[in-house]
């Protein structure tokens, strides 16, 4: 007997195929952008901003060595002036979503809380990607009835 303790959550987070009524439907995990820039707590905000913008992003997820989400730098925080670190500028403990959440629920959540973006994490807090509200609304609109 073998146990796969990371389970269905881990499987879906990796984007592997599934079967069942909801298989193939967009979820937080399938819509999240996985190329979101990340940075560490002690990094200079100026350096992080330059790196993020050079990659075409106005957001950056602050993570620790284990890729656990510590905070989020949205455009407002990323643009702050002064000699700041990522830790001092970030929004700590941002709202996160699990990868299996159907995209319609994600859209509702982001609209209700007026979130321009939101990290998707495993139940252990490990970053999977960043949801962009426009992507979510488009995917929710396109989903089959």
């Amino acid at each position: 007997m073998y146990d796969y303790p990371a389970g269905k959550s881990d499987w879906m987070a990796a984007g592997l195929p599934t079967e069942g009524e909801a298989a193939g439907r967009p979820t937080a995990g399938t819509v999240a952008r996985r190329d979101v820039p990340t940075c560490h707590l002690g990094e200079s905000l100026r350096d992080v901003r330059e790196r993020a913008r050079a990659a075409g992003w106005d957001a950056c997820v602050v993570v620790n060595e284990a890729l656990i989400v510590m905070g989020l730098l949205r455009a407002e925080q990323l643009g702050r002036e002064g000699d700041l670190t990522a830790e001092s500028a970030m929004r700590p403990g941002p709202s996160t979503l699990r990868p299996h959440v159907p995209i319609a629920e994600v859209a509702e959540f982001m609209t209700e809380h007026d979130l321009p973006n939101a990290p998707v994490t495993t139940s252990g807090g490990e970053l999977i990607g960043l949801l962009i509200r426009e992507d979510v609304e488009r995917a929710a609109h396109e989903r089959p009835a």
Partner: protein
Amino acid sequence: MPTNIGREGVRRMVAEGAQLVEVLPKEAFDEQHLPGAIHLALRKIEAGARATLDPERPVIVYCWDSA
């Protein structure tokens, strides 16, 4: 005691003929499950396993996650 395995171990063992068993509620299984998995309710797993599973092939059990 079961042996813990990771995602790649699951993929390799399933390709080699292992049986996958999901023990979440039936509704969660019907909604989405790993390819080829069968459903066995946790409280009936012993009886269900005897009736459903091939004793000659390895069995991998999973639920949602370890949290």
